[in-house]
């Protein structure tokens, strides 16, 4: 239990924000490279320059929006953990819903509710996948039963 010298939670926010930015930037870079390549005039030089321009303009935008999502989600998650004192899948689902709601706040309350539902459902799916994976991985090593009855 002493693997982490400090509480993971405050530092996890920065970690998640950076990770999300990297994901968005790399994914957006690949996508925009292909798109810029295809939407350029004929000729390899034109196409390469077109894809480079597309990457330079669009990929940081996508990375930025991913980073905002990730950072906000992690912040709300850590705050809920601190408030409730318990680490649950419920924290993640509520954090996802709140993140979706906050990021759609400019578009009015109805859009906030819709975005919150989408964020919550997305995170519920991710949590379900995570739980499935951990259960699957832990049942790979069957243990039988341990009758280690401690006397009180």
């Amino acid at each position: 239990m002493e693997e982490y010298a400090r509480e993971p939670c405050p530092w996890r926010i920065v970690d998640d924000c950076g990770g999300a930015f990297t994901m968005g930037a790399i994914g957006g870079g690949i996508f925009q490279a292909i798109k810029g390549f295809r939407n350029s005039p004929v000729g390899v030089n034109h196409r390469l320059r077109g894809s480079l321009t597309a990457i330079k303009t669009r990929a940081p935008q996508l990375g930025g929006s991913f980073a905002v999502w990730g950072g906000l989600f992690s912040m709300i998650d850590c705050s809920m953990v601190r408030m409730r004192g318990k680490e649950d899948p419920w924290n993640s689902i509520t954090s996802g819903a709140l993140t979706g709601a906050i990021l759609a706040a400019r578009n009015g309350p109805v859009a906030m509710v819709g975005s919150a539902a989408m964020g919550g459902i997305l995170l519920a799916l991710i949590e379900g996948a995570g739980i499935l994976l951990t259960r699957f991985a832990s049942t790979q090593f069957p243990n039988g039963k341990e009758p280690a009855e401690d006397v009180s």
């Binding site: 970690d15 004192g85 318990k86 680490e87 899948p89 419920w90 379900g128 039963k145 341990e146």
Partner: protein, 230 residues
């Protein structure tokens, strides 16, 4: 008729270029072979069906608009949207249908897992929550750990500690489950391990607690028993 003948001759040349261009996609290959052996009257149908088919392919729409247009034109002339193309359309639709089904199945499975985890009373998470509540309201625990008690499970790679380690086994025909999680209080550095065992109660179908005890990581080790129904 002569107009169509004239257009047919021109159309044949146009078809040559376009059909060769479409050869790579494969859709034009059968139509390329077809138009060689046809009377020019039917060339118009072929050309229009190929044209719309090409437009449909380039727009990457799976037969939505192009199918409508080619069906309309084919109704006007001979039905020349051949069986090969119909089979291809059907095959594509079928593949998409299978993909949609697989997606719905996976999503439904994930939802089922998360609902069972969060809402069913026999899930490890629920038992962990109940045991934590009992720990929080126990005076001895409060005395050792302080007022606000945090509970968490096993640490994964990223530092999230949501997974509570548990083992399920069957003994005497009843399901038992053992859990282990950690608690930490505001008193500096005091950590404890909580061991919980529950047994399935056959009448109600829910789990009944067999024992809950806490190992406090002090020296000498202290064990606080919260509940013992063995």
């Amino acid at each position: 008729l002569p107009a169509s003948l004239g257009r047919g001759c021109l159309g044949r040349w146009l078809l040559a270029t376009r059909a060769w261009a479409l050869l790579g996609t494969g859709a034009g290959s059968c139509s390329c072979l077809r138009w060689r052996h046809q009377p020019p009257l039917l060339l118009r149908a072929a050309r229009q069906s190929i044209g719309t088919q090409a437009g449909g392919l380039k727009a990457a729409k799976p037969g939505g608009d192009s199918k409508d247009v080619s069906v309309q034109r084919a109704l006007n002339e001979e039905t020349l949207v051949s069986a090969a193309q119909k089979v291809k359309e059907a095959g594509r639709d079928f593949t998409y249908f299978i993909v949609v089904l697989v997606g719905i199945g996976v999503t439904g499975g994930l939802f089922y897992v998360i609902f069972k985890e969060l809402f069913s009373s026999s899930s490890p998470n629920k038992i962990y929550g109940d045991a934590l509540e009992k720990c929080r309201s126990h005076p001895e625990i409060i005395g050792v750990f302080g007022d606000s008690i945090k509970g968490y499970g096993e640490a994964t790679r990223r530092g999230r500690r949501q997974h509570v380690s548990h083992i399920e086994y069957i003994k005497d025909g009843l399901k038992h489950m053992r859990l282990k999680f950690y608690i930490e209080g505001t008193e500096s550095g005091k950590q404890g391990t909580v061991h919980v065992e529950v047994k399935e109660n056959l009448e109600t179908g829910r789990f009944k607690v067999r024992y809950i005890f806490v190992d406090v990581e002090t020296y000498p080790r202290r064990t606080i028993v919260i509940e013992d129904n063995r």
